[in-house]
Symmetry: C2
């Protein structure tokens, strides 16, 4: 276990996770002494956990390829190795994203017909949520890879949807008009229009992410990361403006007392630090990335997302669609 806040948050979240779901068993991978003490502090039921010692850890600053080569005793490597060997059904980590992605690709592998895993996450929206992928795993993508992302996102959203209709899938672009965008987007559009396994609805602009009118929005990792970070920045900016304004006089100070839980929950909802549980899709097993600075509630959400994907057999469903 690593992450900006160390294993304390993960153990606290595990406590709540075990209480909420009687069907789960958790392998805790990390420094034995540190974990033993935390397990005692949070009174985890010993019959539903197993402690697995790791002598090393990947730090948040480690270069991903250096970590891949040199950190085979790290908690991250050992946890992924347990999943790869079938000793665990899913891995949840709040550690270094680049290293997690590199180790995951090495240890768990994608299905043969899938080139690369994509990072996918539900974004809050006025109406429900939109799945956005890729969020940074793949800087440059071919039309064929974006096509694969569309199919994977559609499967994931399909498992969460009550209706039998196919989820709507759109491509992120800088205009809605069919002639707009790069050559890659134009070629991807042609592929998606011909794809009977998808309900492709066309191009959308980045503000659509927060409307919830489309179930799945597909883009390359560069565009997804910019959309995610820009919206995080705008959200923090607005909440800070409101908070400062609320401190400016005593009537507003009183209001801020009433509003502060709302403001906090709004930031939580849109902030990647808390709106949590990004899936690495396209892999043969479930791997969930929790934000490095996730709090207990946020880490718990990542555990819940992992459990859902195991229960819904998301990897197998993706394989099925591609075979």
């Amino acid at each position: 276990m690593s992450g900006d806040l160390g294993p304390r948050v993960a153990i606290a979240a595990t406590h709540d996770f075990l209480a909420q779901f009687p069907d789960v068993f958790v392998l805790l991978v990390g420094d034995r002494d540190q974990l033993t003490s935390l397990i005692a502090t949070y009174k985890l039921s010993e019959s539903r956990i197993e402690l697995i010692h790791a002598a090393d850890r990947v730090s948040m600053d480690d270069d991903s390829l250096v970590a891949l080569r040199q950190k085979k005793d790290s908690s991250m490597w050992i946890a992924l190795d347990l999943v790869s060997k079938g000793s665990a059904d899913a891995c949840v980590s709040a550690g270094n994203t680049g290293a997690l992605l590199a180790m995951t690709k090495h240890l768990i592998k994608t299905y043969p017909s899938i080139d690369r895993p994509a990072i996918c996450k539900a974004m809050p929206a006025e109406k429900g949520s939109s799945l956005l992928l890729d969020l940074g795993a793949n800087i440059n993508c071919t039309p064929e890879q974006l096509h694969q992302f569309a199919l994977m996102g559609s499967v994931l959203r399909g498992t969460n949807k009550n209706s039998n209709s196919l989820p709507s899938v759109a491509l992120l672009n800088i205009g809605k008009e069919a002639h707009k965008g790069t050559d890659v987007l134009q070629a991807t559009q042609t592929l998606l229009q011909q794809e009977s396994r998808l309900n492709y609805v066309g191009f959308v602009e980045a503000n659509t992410i927060f409307l919830g009118r489309v179930d799945v929005i597909v883009c390359d990792g560069f565009h997804g990361n910019i959309a995610l970070k820009a919206s995080e920045g705008a959200a923090r900016f607005i909440v800070k403006k409101i908070t400062n304004h609320l401190r400016s006089n005593w009537i507003l100070k009183f209001l801020s007392f009433c509003l502060s839980p709302l403001l906090k929950s709004l930031v939580d909802e849109i902030d990647p630090a808390a709106y949590n549980g990004a899936s690495f899709l396209g892999l043969q097993k479930v791997v969930i990335k929790s934000h490095g600075s996730a709090n207990k509630k946020a880490f718990l959400n990542s555990l819940i997302v992992a459990r859902e994907q195991i229960t819904e057999q998301v990897p197998a469903r993706i394989q099925q669609l591609f075979s």
Copy 2:
């Protein structure tokens, strides 16, 4: 005159512009009958305006290249032609962005050493503002073009800055680390690091836009447009959430009465519909794009931005830096 709201907003804003700045003279280009009636309604001083009839107009749905070929009697074409011939110092338009860009490139031209104009605008930030460019004029950019954008942005910010130090300039990327990003960004970084006319500070992520730690953030038009639209979407989403919450009970309803001007001004501040006046930089004259759905205050801001750029001789300063 076109734009989503027609010439009414532009005429109302012109009234305030004339009142605020005794040194300006405004050429109003559009349908004679419509403008005559609006000039009377808003009591514009006839000695400080001139009405120029245009038989046609570019609609918001017109394809930019079709408009360029077929709309030579439009208000947009005539206004840009007046600027190109020196009869006016700047053109401000709330019309179709693609058509405005196409006609501008055709009629006004960039300086010889500048490949393409870039759309640039000040984004609100916790501390002051950040200039972001390009916002959609150029989908794919070479390192040389991004280098030009950096220089142009630095000139524009330099004219607004009180200190003599060079404005700080960063490149938009998906990580701060120097090894991150696309080949184009890597090559651009090398160019900017060697550039003595710039204070290049490295890569920034998209959330930095709203911090105001960097004066100028450079990116291609695709990335800039995604950052702009994603932040617009997130801002609207949050304000809507807060507004809905404030309607949920009577105490909060009272609070919302106190907060509604603040919420509105926050949306205005971050929303491109109102935070207004995007510059087409790199041209031999001043061209300012007002948002199609800009209100009076927002359109007035575009007029003020245009006047500032004339007074500060922004085009000439850019030419000087490039010669």
